[in-house]
Symmetry: C2
Subunit: 593 residues, 2 copies
């Protein structure tokens, strides 16, 4: 069985030393968020992740969710684990304290989320969907809806689901056919079938609160006629107790590549009772509220599972004796640990540098999110909101691509042993794969970045993000000790800026340039963003070369060096591909496929 | 269920137009191998692949091999399919006609292999292992062994297995512990346990002929004390009939990520009777004979499954309506096929250009193999043997990496639908993954290329391969019509040559440079090799722009263009990573993992 221990030291490093934990502490309501508190929370979260969630991760994959007669049964131990999880309040740490949540920073929640996702990605989706539904309701739901549903959702005895996809529409939500008919009492009658609904039906909670995208009668066609409705599995009586079953049922569950302990449901709404969330025909806005935070959370899934794979690859590479080092340091012929082999070191350092770099970037972004909500300064709120809008698709896609790359390297380090189920390494690959697909495929994230986010503020939003990095780099350009980190960062920045200009200029003539460049551009963006994180981490490392934790900081410097020398060069190929333009894609005639 | 049709037109193109089908025809015994014959064979092979093997691919994955009381049962339909396969002689097309095989060129066999692997990778391993065992026996086995075993193996009623790996030794075969004690009658008694034995036990054949690496009593330590033994499941009587059961048994089978219809066995040899193959303590040589052809065959597995994924991605992308084109060609808002989206086109063309490019390279290599065996000119035989030695690790690793990349793009094009089992796209990813691991991980292939093959003939072997490419490029450097293909090829050649020089020079001081650069070097090599193939394919395309098949050739030109503009630039990042050297890997201290 895989092992896991939360990377608490690294989390504290990126939260307080690299990023702006102090600023979080200065936000209203977060006064207690100091390093000791965060460390204590992570220590406790580590216990439930490692001791409760991890032990049912592999068995859950073997057993999978079962569907019988409309009922979904989660694998053995999931209900007990869920009860422990909600009893300790891990489900509600960032939910509004007004309604029973703990009201802690989202950035802290996302640290805890990394642990949950690492230990058991399937499990994480159940509380995750509740948080997603909550975020949408919190902004757009009426007080009545919030008062009815939030307390039990905060308690965790009711959970949430997001019902968007239909068989004919995944990415293109304008094609939604689910109908909503208004009733005289202000409610709606919802009819239609949704597919791929995570946590749409299961046995962990007493009630499930579905947020459903549907088209009201006489609504405009396409995306402008979509509204969001709340549809509970059980109707709720006036006294808050559960009433009769609503006309919503699970038709079947999917058999999937991975996340098998997560129920992926076909949901049938057969004249189910629902209530409008937000304004009529403004469902997409409410949905995106939910979606954006979910997309950060999905990025964290990639990060968590990457960390899990890395830890187990290190254990295996240290234990497994095979071959000898290029220059043998032992007796000739005596087998040595895999870690002596340069190619194994290359794989381990690729895993490590990507994982730690992604954690740094994710923490930066999640702190911006807290500031964007809690700051008392409107300009700061707006600035951070825009930065999050820019970074959200990068976090979602780059971190989940990283999750897939890293878990595959984990398998590769195990060799044939990685391919069999026993060690759990191949499950990580299968589980990680979903995160590149759901909540908008990574291609859609890339198009969101290039097509929607880059043009914000006349293209100036990118500069808002980049200018502090450029300043950082310029201020250190004469520092000989930092040169090995700053100079590659500068190169990457130049490529990213030139690629951005290329796309924005060419897209005016040929809109296809956006889609043609998008995926590679997002990778270029992510790598450059990580180069900034690694340059800073190296700098902090250099400032801490003595003292008790000198080892920790020295590892940062060396991992930064590896990243700059061996990973960041990928930007060169990406840049050349992007600037080759769209014509070789678009000129291919359809008949030739 | 996935669909499949053999890419026969493309196979004929790479075999006869791009490569040297005429030279194959001129080899002794291959006089009949003309285009009509090859086409007829491929048409027939397509029928069994598409109509017999493909329909049990998905059901075989669901059902998997079962283990009960030492018996392995293959999934429903596998026995019937196997019988059809051997009755038609698909198992023995390249086996020696002297012993009942058809004696056709290996290059033709590998074309047929692509079809078998595409339609059902699990199935392909059963006849594949027989071919592997045969190749080793053919060179090193005594006439007595050949006469005893070959006729039934050619018939397909007996199959083969290769028993190399033990739990403590995968890559490092010097650690083998299985023992062989000589008996007075010239046979040996074999004792030990082997793991990961594909087709080690199953219900498809009457007998299984295991080739087992073991250490004879008093043999030298390490790799120099390994011998190869033939150990049949059932002993064979003097009259050729099956005798008593040998002391070899299957202890269990593995539960794996994919290729679930292929039995992966733990094999226990408990004083089993075996016969030496080749010379005592020279087992590695005999094993490598088998291994080298197997490695080409494993490369073909990656190619076959890539083609399967591409074909199904095209079907889906043409059918699925979602969103509208960057510049809508339909009525606004009307959903259009996925193929209108630039990013989908990018994915499809990546799949296509890699798959067709790999087919071209594989066919070139397999033709060299035939020439190396059959040519009456010793110098030509030796030249081609060396070229194959160089290209074998590239074929194995680059084609299987391609298989994994392409099948993942296939899933990505399907979006969430790619993640569920129904469409079969995720199975292709799981099946493809093994090919990067077995027959020597792709990291081992890369080290073989850089550490063993590049130094051959004082480093001149690489030049033997590259010089014709350099000549080709130079001869066309003034051709303005070809410039868009020749100029990127030239750039890639420069990077490959410089990277080679960098590694060979630096490895003299620091042997770790070999392992540190190997994987990225192999990718750089593979991409450059494909650029050569694509340049030639584009050139042939340009010469055939009129006529009935103008469409076929135009697609070649356009795919070549895409490859040069969008895929080949990967070489730039690889080159930078390689030339950053080994220090950032090797300086990382062990305590920091």
């Amino acid at each position: 069985m895989p092992e896991y221990n939360a990377p608490i030291r690294d989390m504290l490093f990126v939260y307080f030393e690299l990023n702006n934990g102090e600023r979080i502490k200065s936000l209203p309501g977060y006064e207690d968020i100091d390093q000791e508190t965060v460390e204590a929370i992570l220590e406790e979260a580590n216990k439930i992740a490692r001791d409760v969630l991890l032990p049912i991760n592999q068995t859950g994959d073997d057993q999978a969710c079962q569907f019988n007669d409309g009922q979904v049964t989660t694998p053995d131990g999931y209900k007990e684990a869920y009860n422990q999880y909600i009893e300790a309040g891990w489900n509600n740490i960032a939910l509004d304290s007004e309604y029973g949540g703990q009201g802690l920073p989202k950035s802290l929640h996302l640290l805890v989320d990394e642990l949950t996702c690492a230990a058991n990605l399937s499990f994480s989706l159940y509380p995750g969907l509740t948080n997603g539904a909550w975020n949408s309701l919190a902004t757009y739901g009426s007080e009545e809806l919030k008062n009815t549903y939030f307390p039990k959702m905060a308690e965790g005895v009711w959970s949430g689901s997001m019902c968007l996809t239909e068989s004919q529409c995944g990415t293109d939500l304008g094609l939604i056919r689910t109908k909503a008919e208004p009733q005289s009492n202000g409610s709606y009658t919802i009819s239609g079938t949704k597919i791929f609904i995570s946590a749409g039906e299961h046995d962990l909670t007493e009630n499930i609160i579905h947020l459903v995208l549907a088209r009201a009668v006489d609504a405009p066609e396409g995306i402008k006629g979509i509204s969001l409705f709340l549809v509970p599995k059980y109707l709720v009586n006036d006294d808050g107790s559960l009433g009769e079953k609503n006309n919503v049922s699970c038709g079947s569950i999917e058999y999937k590549m991975g996340i098998k302990a997560s129920a992926t449901c076909v949901m049938n709404f057969d004249g189910a009772k629902g209530w409008l969330v937000g304004d009529l025909n403004k469902g997409m806005r409410a949905m995106f509220k939910m979606m954006n935070i979910e997309r950060l959370a999905v990025g964290i899934q990639g990060l968590g599972i990457a960390e899990l794979s890395y830890q187990n690859a290190v254990i295996y590479a240290r234990d497994r004796l095979q071959g000898s080092a290029p220059v043998s340091v032992g007796s000739p012929g005596s087998p040595q640990p895999l870690t002596v082999h340069p190619d194994v070191r290359r794989m381990l350092l690729t895993m490590r540098s990507l994982t730690e770099g992604c954690r740094a970037l994710a923490t930066r972004t999640s702190q911006l999110l807290d500031i964007s909500v809690k700051s008392e300064n409107q300009a700061e709120r707006e600035l951070n909101e825009n930065l999050i809008a820019l970074l959200t698709p990068v976090i979602k896609a780059f971190l989940t691509d990283t999750g897939f790359e890293v878990t595959n390297l984990g398998v590769q380090i195990f060799g044939g042993h990685g391919y069999i189920k026993e060690h759990g390494m191949e499950q990580m690959v299968r589980d990680a794969r979903i995160a590149q697909l759901y909540e908008g495929t990574n291609g859609i994230q890339a198009m969101d970045l290039v097509g929607r986010k880059l043009p914000i503020a006349g293209g100036k939003l990118l500069q808002t993000y980049l200018q502090p990095i450029i300043n950082y780099q310029k201020e250190r350009s004469a520092d000989s000790q930092l040169e090995e980190f700053i100079s590659p960062l500068e190169d990457a920045l130049v490529l990213l800026q030139n690629a951005s200009k290329f796309i924005m200029k060419n897209a005016q003539k040929e809109p296809a340039e956006i889609g043609a460049a998008a995926v590679e551009y997002l990778s270029l963006f992510g790598l450059t963003a990580l180069a900034y994180e690694w340059a800073q981490m190296a700098e902090i490392g250099l400032q801490n070369q003595t003292g008790e934790e000198a080892d920790f900081y020295r590892a940062k410097i060396r991992t930064a060096r590896f990243f700059m020398q061996r990973i960041l060069p990928r930007t060169k190929g990406l840049y050349s591909s992007i600037t080759a333009g769209a014509s070789s894609l678009m000129d291919f005639e359809d008949m030739h496929w």
